[in-house]
Subunit: 239 residues, 2 copies
């Protein structure tokens, strides 16, 4: 990933026009871009991404997303401190051992370290939240039945994926992080969230220093089963 | 939604070429299509959708999806019985009261009822699963810390959204349902899933009787907050 010294910032009009990218190209070249320039991202671009996010399905069409767009430097710094604390702990206790054995994980850790170190310089942090309280059957700290839990998360992550794909099409760097939210009470306080609004993840956005490009994945036949698990009917015989 | 008597089935080549649809068009016209024809869907189409699903991000690039593609009629019928049982209960106790007050919910209920009644005739049911066991820190029945829980579901639902968007681009009817999985133990048995593989949702696929088209959403300014919750900075002043 080259460290381009100057951000290549398209006009807002041009960025929005890029949403015409063929779906398959956007998907095949989506990847986390963590190193971004501090240059601002136009509000019109952020709002368009959120409009696309809103097109994703929600359980029973509940449309219970809420998005907090954090641009204030002090607010970003507060989230950044929370991120730094948990990442440093995780790195020392677990991840440096993982990274020592796996060059791909080591590269990822380096990019995360960059993100942690520069969190308040990233122009926009979108905090995706879901609004669902006791009235809708969600009781804090009590484990819901499996399909209720699935429907809950399944009503926000499809929206987050739309946001990420839209960012990719526009050439805007984006990634999906949860660590800044590890202390849920502190995160709620920082973002002034009421008790029935839960922050789910953070998507940092900025014009990229890195590049989008094809991602590597394990073959589809390895993870696809016919009628019952274990029947890997589409396994590549040459694989 | 017109009940077209004959399925309009494109050639596999044509369906795959449709993945070039502009990203923004696919997103803006994605919607649940539950009424589908029984005509088969080519394996090459299903596998391409799963390849696209695999391009979505996963926590620490863990790539722990597993997909069970259910085409066998008896296997579909078993899932259908499970779906029918919970839907009938839900309809009688809750949803008919909701539907009585809201025409949009009543229309949705009618489409779900169709799906429930015809579940074994739907050509393909993709069961999206996530493989994550005790070794990776997931202990059955124990509630994980918030960000671990978020990372768990956030490693499968972005893939499901890619699958749904891909289906939309190809003109293939799709929807996201969780109800057939309400009895997790029974679902595991039906699909022969090991204990560390958890079924998350079912995506029924078939050539549509209905049509894709623009979806209605609440205005983005209503659900977007600047820097802290409650600061609806982008609220449409005319709204």
């Amino acid at each position: 990933m080259s460290d381009t010294p100057v951000a290549v910032v398209p006009s807002t009009e041009e960025a929005l026009a890029r949403l015409d990218m063929p779906l398959v190209d956007a998907m095949m070249t989506q990847r986390a871009i963590r190193r971004v320039h501090p240059d601002p991202v136009d509000d019109a671009i952020v709002l368009k991404l959120l409009e696309l996010a809103q097109r994703a399905p929600t359980g029973q069409n509940g449309q219970q997303w809420e998005f907090v767009v954090v641009q204030d430097r002090a607010a970003k710094a507060r989230l950044g401190r929370s991120y730094r604390r948990i990442w440093n702990l995780y790195w020392r206790t677990v991840y440096r051992h993982v990274a020592a054995k796996d060059p791909a994980k080591a590269r990822m850790a380096k990019a995360v370290q960059w993100q942690v170190d520069h969190f308040e310089e990233i122009p926009v942090l979108v905090v995706a939240c879901i609004r669902l309280g006791v009235r809708e059957g969600r009781v804090p700290l009590v484990r819901m039945p499996h399909i209720a839990e699935s429907g809950y998360w399944g009503s926000i992550y499809p929206a987050v994926q739309n946001l990420l794909l839209g960012a990719r099409a526009m050439g805007l760097g984006a990634s999906l992080v949860t660590m800044p939210l590890w202390n849920l009470t502190a995160a709620r306080r920082m973002l002034e969230l009421p008790v029935d609004v839960t922050p789910v993840c953070v998507v940092p956005l900025g014009w990229p220093k890195g590049r989008y490009g094809p991602s590597a994945r394990i073959p589809v036949g390895d993870v696809t089963h016919r009628d019952a698990y274990g029947n890997r009917y589409w396994l590549d015989p040459g694989g």
